[in-house]
Amino acid sequence: MEPFFVRYRNLLVLLLVLLAQIIGLAVQVRRTAAGRNLLDTQDGPGVRLIRLWAEGIVSPPERLIHGSKIGSVQIWQDYLDLRHVREQNQDLQKTIDRLRLEQASLLEDARQGQRLQALLDFQQKYVYKTVAAQAIGASGSDQSRILYLDKGKDFGLEPDMAVIVADGIVGKVREVFPHTAQVLLISDQTSGAGVILETTRTRGILRGNAAGQVLIVGILADQRIQPGEKVLTAGGDQIFPRGLPVGVVEKVVRDPDRDAFIDIFVKPAAHLDRLDEVVVITSTLPRFSTEQEKDLATSETLKGPEVEQAKAQKKAAEIMAERLPSLIDPKLPLDQQPLHDTSLPTSVPHVPQAIHPDRFTPGSAIMPDLSNTKGKEGTDSATPAKPAGQKTAAADPSSPGLAAKKGSATNLAAPPAKTEHKPGEPLRRNP
């Protein structure tokens, strides 16, 4: 028997190693009731141990590389490259002022919203507590879009916590180790997040594909869904709080497998390829966090009087609008109000030239004989209307519309100053 093992040593070793790995694979896969094979979402103790060892070997050098990179970048950014910082600071101050103003004006709405939610027993979750973390590594495989964070169980991270950046969502925590955590990106094939389209309110499931693109699958064909529409988290997956930005619709394509369905490719708001610092949402509660409350209070203190003043001005404008309906149309924006409408004629329209001029024709030098006009009343509407118009305009001089009419009527009533008229000739319009 010895020559056999010596002769086929290489092949036997190969077969043994392959067999061991195949058995290991078989342990990790389970069959569902529907007859489909699935990988266990939670690793078994043995598999978890292997991952822990691998991560323990790789993460120290990764931290070292990341730390040295950050150190050199910080030296450059904090001490050497400080151009335009003053201008940026001024701009940021202005932005903060503006945001505080907006925040103070929205404060009351937010509080009212919370009260109503409490009344309706609707649990809208707010981001309550977060942990900032650095991305130090990846899985290194296209098939597994994983990110490693430099914080783990020691900072309170747990599986299925949402990971976000300022621009949008990034993914969820998949596995937590003592000092690191594994994040499954939204561009991974096995990821899933409940999302909603902002305008059309269409709901779907976000996942990745082999090329690392992010798409919403299983949506019925809808002509209203167009590129550029914003995608937000729907909040139904119990991982991402509702309303966080996900990205924008990039293109809509027909599902190759199902005719009536479409796939929506989404351009993620977060730069998933270049992630450095991320935020892990460690807690969501149905109320604002202490920091948020403090921030709101600061905004109210600093910008409250300005907001009140703006509200008072708005209220005064509304009262004016009620009293002077012709001045302001509440349905129109400010720049389209009638007073601002430059398309309207500013001068009084000219009177059409009479085809058969008589003594009643405006500008006629002949004085009307009132005794002859009695029988014509009601047939000629222009002449009797003039005094009425004058009277109304005089009664309410504040109305610009009527004032305009008044001007018009005055012009109509005014005799032509220097018009020469020869009998038998048609009357000329007085400019």
């Binding site: 694979l25 990790q28 699935l38 060892w53 590594g137 290194g140 490693y148 090329a211």
Partner: protein, 174 residues
């Protein structure tokens, strides 16, 4: 400096020997860089450094057993860093290590064209084995892009073209 293994076969003169430090640190560096570089290069990380290193040492040592074990270690390590089943990459790289070492016995491994072609073919084979294990052995859903795998195979070949001569300098010469 000490050699990893004593030269005890009839191919004494052909087998390359490396310092222990190189034999341990280079695979480790490959694994660390493979985990770190995709963060820097984004979607243009078209390479598989652990596979390149496996092929290099398998070709150099010309021992199918060592190639098999090194491939299995590298593949399992990569699997452990991902969230996929542990073993799929392991099997693929085990086969790659075994084949590279077996081929290394028969051909001239100094030739650049052969190195380039070997890396390209073994990269594609690894991808094919990985796909086979996932889709057929485990019957799991997996989106696949052969274009990405082709790019990765090309990237591996180019890296091997520069990395192999560098690693050649570390070998122990009598």
């Amino acid at each position: 400096m000490m050699s990893v293994l004593a030269s005890d076969t009839r191919r004494d003169m052909e087998i390359r020997r490396y310092p222990v430090l190189v034999y341990t640190l280079v695979p480790l560096a490959a694994l660390v860089l493979q985990a770190w570089l995709p963060r820097v290069l984004g979607r243009f990380a078209w390479f598989d450094l652990p596979l390149v290193v496996t092929v290099y040492f398998a070709l150099g040592r010309r021992s199918p057993v060592q190639g098999t074990l090194l491939g299995a270690f590298m593949g399992l390590f990569e699997d452990a860093l991902s969230h996929h089943a542990i073993g799929a990459n392991g099997i693929a790289k085990t086969l790659a290590g075994f084949l590279a070492a077996s081929v290394g016995v028969c051909i001239d491994v100094e030739n650049h064209t052969i190195r380039l072609a070997l890396n390209f073919l073994l990269s594609l084979m690894c991808s094919g084995v990985y796909l086979f294990i996932y889709r057929f052995l485990l019957a799991l859903d997996l989106d696949w892009s052969w274009m990405a795998e082709l790019c990765k195979a090309l990237g591996n070949s180019v890296i091997a073209l520069f990395l192999f001569p560098l690693l050649d300098r570390t070998q122990i010469r009598d």
